[in-house]
């Protein structure tokens, strides 16, 4: 049957069947989403929140499999001086700070990453280099941030580990 016929059939359902109609609608939506995720060649969209050096929060829809550096560049997020060496593990400017529960679920760091991360400004126990972290589905909804601006020389950046 065509779309318009399906719609008129649905709308002709009686009040007793409204709950079923809502359930059907819900099931159809979920199926569509699952299909997009499973069959789409570009992977799933993952919601990420970035907080920049001034405390400004931006939410973006990232692609599974991208590095966080690629996300910052592709989405043109306003983070000063991010990714100076363009993802070649030759600097520490893509330094990101993660939430507690997220950090421990991530793949452990290789020596090469830790060598550069250890030079980062405002290093914390929850720090990683964005060029070495890949977006995965379970990260949906996570917030990452960069060290906050030191507004006053007397302020110290976050405690070093």
């Amino acid at each position: 049957m065509g779309y318009s016929e399906a719609v008129s059939q649905l709308s002709s359902l009686t009040v007793n069947q409204t709950g079923s109609r809502a359930l059907l609608f819900y099931v159809v939506c979920v199926c569509v989403c699952v299909c997009v995720c499973v069959f789409s060649s570009s992977g799933c969209k993952v919601l990420l929140h970035f907080v920049n050096q001034s405390g400004m929060k931006t939410s973006v829809s990232a692609m599974e499999g991208e590095s966080l550096l690629e996300v910052v560049i592709n989405k043109n997020l306003q983070i000063d001086g991010f990714g100076a060496c363009e993802g070649t593990l030759a600097c520490s400017t893509c330094h990101l700070i993660f939430e507690d529960g997220v950090y421990e679920k991530m793949e452990p760091m290789a020596d090469e990453e830790m060598d550069m991360l250890d030079l980062a400004y405002g290093l914390t126990k929850l720090s990683r280099l964005g060029c070495q972290v890949t977006v995965e589905r379970w990260m949906d909804g996570m917030t990452v941030r960069v060290p906050q601006e030191v507004k006053d020389r007397r302020e110290k950046p976050e405690a070093e580990i």
């Binding site: 100076a84 070649t88 090469e112 070093e160 580990i161």
Partner: protein, 467 residues
């Protein structure tokens, strides 16, 4: 023709009433400061003045040839220079071709980002002997800095002693001991390659005043030394004896570096011989460079033996009265770069060799700022300079917003300076003209399997720029 002050491809509106800022120095500090300013205000015009015809400062002349990824920042600097409100003026020597005072009259603000072109001296006798070099000159030589073209170091000795244990010292050691096969694919200069091909250097000792816990280099560079082919690490176990107890309280970066050095000591004891070696020597300060029989060339170095007073980053080296002599055919002092004063009207602290400032605002001089090494001293990596430059830019923008910098007066900016330069017979190199030099260097390099073959003479650069 070069008489027009307007470079093709960009429209310069002389009635432009937006803020005009002048930056002195086309290295990382200059470009990062420019980048931040341009992004912050869409009426801002930034002019970058650079003494050489070529931009990028130590990214071009300091970063080691075998660290090409570190030079990726050139891409972001290039984007900044190509910004429609940014103008690059190469081949202009601020201080001799134009004064800082003249720049301050023409612009709303001037930022000094000219870095540190000199080096700290060891101040020991024998420093003037043949075979003694500053690391700054040696690095300039293999990186094609025009003023170091004639250095001609002779690498016909077996042992080189490097004073200083920062990353620059390790760069020098690594270039001295790296296989030629690797170096010849980099942008190292041809004359350096030829000299290294004939090198007899087999042993490099990297000497520091204090102990392993105070070493200034970073872990990546130490790993690179350990991984050098056919090269053994030659450390003294005694230097690390008292270190293990302190390990557990160290912050992670210092702890990992110390553990790596200690692991090297353990691994190397009883290993089969390699052809070459490198090692750290601790608690030693230079007392005198010793000449050979002809009295003209270095044959050794006399070192004071130190002990440490205090601990951690603030520990001090104190002489014990004992001395030690090391035989060597070359001494390279890598004890720090040093800024020089640029102009009598700019305050300069000769003791710390920086421009006195308060968070980037030059002391007692309205409208004058500084960023990078000339502001903080010559330490830190590019990212350190980046953050510092952003700090200065923020300060400047704050002063614009608060009215401390008077933007209600229009300033002529580059138009006035270009006219002045023309009167004095000085012709600037524009960014598109640098790009001609760049293309030619890349073309010459490609022909010999290198990323570029750098021009060593300013006159050759200018000939290409203005062809």
């Amino acid at each position: 023709s070069w008489s027009t002050p307007f470079f093709s491809g960009k429209h310069r509106n002389v009635q432009d009433s937006g803020p005009k800022v002048c930056i002195v120095g086309g290295g990382p500090a200059g470009f990062y400061t420019a980048q931040h300013l341009l992004k912050a205000r869409d009426d801002m015009v930034v002019d970058v003045y650079e003494r050489l015809p070529v931009p990028f400062g130590l990214v071009r002349f300091g970063v080691a040839p075998d660290h090409p990824e570190v030079k990726n920042v050139i891409n972001t600097f290039t984007q900044t220079a190509q910004h429609e409100r940014c103008y690059f003026y190469g081949n202009v020597n601020v201080g001799t071709d134009v004064s800082v005072e003249e720049l301050r009259k023409a612009y709303h603000a001037v930022v000094l980002s000219y870095g540190a072109e000199a080096n700290r001296s060891m101040r020991v006798s024998g420093e003037g002997l043949a075979g003694v070099f500053s690391a700054r000159d040696f690095v300039g030589w293999y990186n094609g800095l025009p003023s170091n073209k004639e250095l001609q170091p002779h690498l016909n000795c077996e042992t080189v002693v490097i004073l200083g244990q920062g990353n620059v010292a390790l760069d020098v050691a690594r270039i001295l001991l790296s296989p030629l096969d690797l170096l010849k694919k980099t942008d190292i200069t041809q004359h350096a390659l030829d000299t290294l091909a004939a090198s007899r250097v087999r042993r490099v000792l990297i000497v520091g005043r204090r102990g392993p816990l105070q070493i200034a280099c970073t872990i990546k560079e130490v790993r690179e030394m350990i991984n050098l082919p056919d090269t053994a690490a030659d450390m003294l176990p005694a230097d690390f004896e008292s270190i293990s107890e302190a390990l557990k309280d160290l912050p992670r970066p210092r702890k990992r570096l110390t553990e790596l050095m200690m692991k090297t000591v353990k691994t190397e004891s009883g290993q089969h011989k390699a052809n070459k070696s490198w090692g750290f020597r601790f608690l030693r300060s230079p007392l005198e460079v010793l000449p050979g029989p002809d009295g003209k060339r270095v044959a050794g170095i006399r070192l004071a033996v130190n002990k440490l007073e205090g601990s951690g980053e603030d520990a001090k080296a104190v002489p014990t009265g004992q001395t030690e002599d090391l035989e060597c055919g070359m001494v390279i002092s890598s004890i720090g770069y040093k800024s020089l004063p640029i102009d009598p009207c700019v305050p300069f602290d000769p003791r710390s060799a920086i421009v006195p400032n308060n968070m980037g605002r030059v002391k007692d001089t309205a409208g004058l700022y500084c960023s990078g090494w000339v502001k903080r001293g010559p330490t830190g990596v590019i990212a350190t300079t980046m953050n510092d430059s952003f700090d200065t830019a923020r300060m400047l923008l704050k002063d614009m917003d608060s009215g401390m910098l008077n933007l209600s007066v229009n300033k002529p900016g580059g138009q006035e300076i270009t006219a002045l330069l023309k009167e004095r017979g000085v012709r600037a190199v524009s960014f598109p003209e640098w790009e001609k030099i760049n293309l030619e260097e890349v073309r010459r390099g490609t022909a010999v399997g290198k990323p570029r073959e750098k021009f060593l003479d300013v006159k050759d650069m200018l000939a290409v720029a203005w062809s």
